[in-house]
Amino acid sequence: MTSVSIRDLTLKFGSLEVLKSLNIDIDEGEFLVLLGPSGCGKSTLLNCIAGLLDISDGQIFIGGNNVTWTEPSERGIGMVFQSYALYPQMSVEGNLAFGLKNARMPKHEIASRIARAAEVLQIEPLLQRKPAQLSGGQRQRVAIGRALVRDVDVFLFDEPLSNLDAKLRAELRVEIKRLHHRLKNTMVYVTHDQIEALTLADRIAIMRNGIIQQLDTPHEIYNRPVNLYVAGFMGSPGMNFIEGEISGAGDSDFNFASTQIPLARYPFAQADRPNHAIFGIRPEHVSCGTAASDEPFSTDVEIEVVEPMGADTLVWAVLDGKEFRFRVDGQSPLHAGQSIRIGFDPAKASIFDARSELRL
């Protein structure tokens, strides 16, 4: 059963097209993350779903109903904002009750819903406080609670964790995931943080300039990005890209400078390949030292910078004149200036047409 469906959604501000004919179907109980850099239109899309922006063309369905022209409060959604957007002059309880009061719900029903939400989010002791007296994490819990009490099928999150510090962000992230498992609501979640996207999402939609680049599971997006943009956007540190030529038709090679990478193991999507291509390999798919020699491809590189990050270490090296990053175990005793052997399996790589930037 589809929970939220977006058909040919277009949004224009004057002559500027902000969202271009988008189509998304979100299943019931699905956790969809809209991911992209700032200005890509992801928050705008969320506001359209919520009904806070009037769209220029297309349709929006929620729970099977056409809500394209429906008021936000009647769409059956709850929304959580980046800045929490708590009403400063109301207590936590007042904040939770405000929407319900507007819907003229009976008092006892309001009370029981608040009690339930407070229990779920463990904010019972805070109910009488004002937002100003809460910490950032507590505020965001209350903001989630405000969506919760509405007892709706669809939750919309607009970068809810961006204002929190790293530690709290990780905690609340888990909590949102737990909440999703427990409530099984449909959730649409906007973020620019790929870790959040990868950890939370059932599916991720990567957006750029008002267009969805790829809509798929985190695994697919990570391992099989459909284009150069998605490949570069996902992963931190980012994928290594090397520009070069593909030679041969069957078991071809990728050539750049004096290096040749055999592509026999690479699963090409189609038979005809352009000459000019970009080869991408993630730093974490590179092995080094003795293990490197076991890989289908291996070569020597010179280390420029070593960045120990605790659990692992990021190494910046030079591979035949190109900058090349790879990740090694945190315990590896590497140092700048050293020469080392690295290797990887081209099957794990991604190769893109240099002109169209699409995956080959």
């Binding site: 936000p72 400063p88 929407g99």
Partner: protein, 310 residues
């Protein structure tokens, strides 16, 4: 816990201090910078306080002393007679009741005018900031244009308007006039203030099912105290001090205090009684001054919120 951390920390042995700057930087109370700042501020303060001082001192002197002495000298013999005269017995035409006659009229004019003008301007600002609709900017521009129209120019058109509405000469008519002429600046301030309210708050309220008025009364109003204070002060000051509208659009039994002030100051009976004029001037200004001093801090906060963003 603390013990553990201290123990775990590798102690760094002190290697001793060498000569040179050590510890907190010494601060001198009388630095050239402070002398400059406070000196300038004191000088400026004298410029601002001088007229008030002259007003008060003069109002406490008798006429002979004024004629002889200099205006900055404190009174040799303090007399409250000018104050009594200004308040209770100064004459204009046949009425010798001083300013007291107009005081309550001013109150009766000011309160409804302030309430009406602020109510309308705040809703305007709110609609302009949060519910933009097509053409709103055009109307707002015209409104700002209105801020530049000298009142005198609009006297006749307003007379015609009030007559057509059938409220010429009534208190409501006067309140309407104050509302109209207060609207440009107030709307500007309110609009600027409401645009500083986070948009997400407004969105959250819409998701919560609150409409135009619901958001205004339940969300915006309770968090706008500072800007309301600014608006109230500006309006009370303006309306209380207004002379032209008060005299043109009402009649003698509801003339505001400023009409009496004008009469006292402009009815010269022989010599100008500067002391009475000054006392009358201070008395007339007391209400706005009082309100201003009571709410000075909120005023600055409100101004900050109403002017910074635009």
């Amino acid at each position: 816990m603390t013990d553990a951390t201290t123990l775990a920390t590798r102690p760094v042995a002190s290697t001793g201090l060498v000569d040179g700057p050590r510890g907190g930087k010494p601060k001198r109370a009388i630095s050239p910078r402070n002398v400059f700042i406070y000196g300038t501020l004191l000088l400026v303060s004298i410029y601002y306080l001088l007229p008030l001082y002259v007003m008060i001192v003069t109002s406490l002197k008798g006429m002979p002393e004024i004629r002889l002495g200099n205006i900055f000298a404190p009174p040799v013999e303090i007399t409250f007679e000018p104050w009594v005269k200004a308040w209770a017995t100064a004459c204009t035409g046949l009425n010798c009741e001083g300013l007291s006659r107009g005081f309550w009229n001013s109150v009766r004019i000011t309160i409804p005018s302030v309430v009406l003008s602020i109510a309308i301007a705040s809703v305007n600002g709110y609609a302009l900031a949060n519910w933009r609709f097509k053409g709103a900017d055009v109307f707002f521009t015209i409104l700002i244009f209105g801020a530049f129209i000298p009142y005198q120019v609009m006297l006749y058109p307003i007379v015609i308007l009030l007559r057509e509405l059938g409220i010429y000469g009534t208190l409501w008519g006067l309140s309407l006039v104050h509302t109209i002429f207060g609207m440009p600046i107030l709307t500007l301030l309110f609009r600027n203030y409401f645009t500083t309210v986070p948009e997400e708050l407004f969105k959250a309220a819409r998701v919560d099912g609150a409409g135009f008025w619901g958001i205004y009364f339940k969300i915006m109003l309770p968090m706008s105290l500072p800007i309301f204070v600014v608006a109230i002060i500006i309006q009370i000051t303006g309306i209380w001090n207004d002379f032209l509208f008060g005299v043109v659009y009402t009649k003698p039994d509801v003339y505001p205090m400023t009409v009496q002030l004008n009469n006292i100051v402009n009815s010269v009976q022989g010599v100008k009684e500067y002391n009475v004029n000054m006392a009358a001037t201070i008395i007339t200004g007391l209400v706005p001054l009082f309100i201003y001093f009571v709410s000075g801090k909120l005023f600055v906060r409100g101004i900050a919120a109403g002017a910074v963003k635009g």
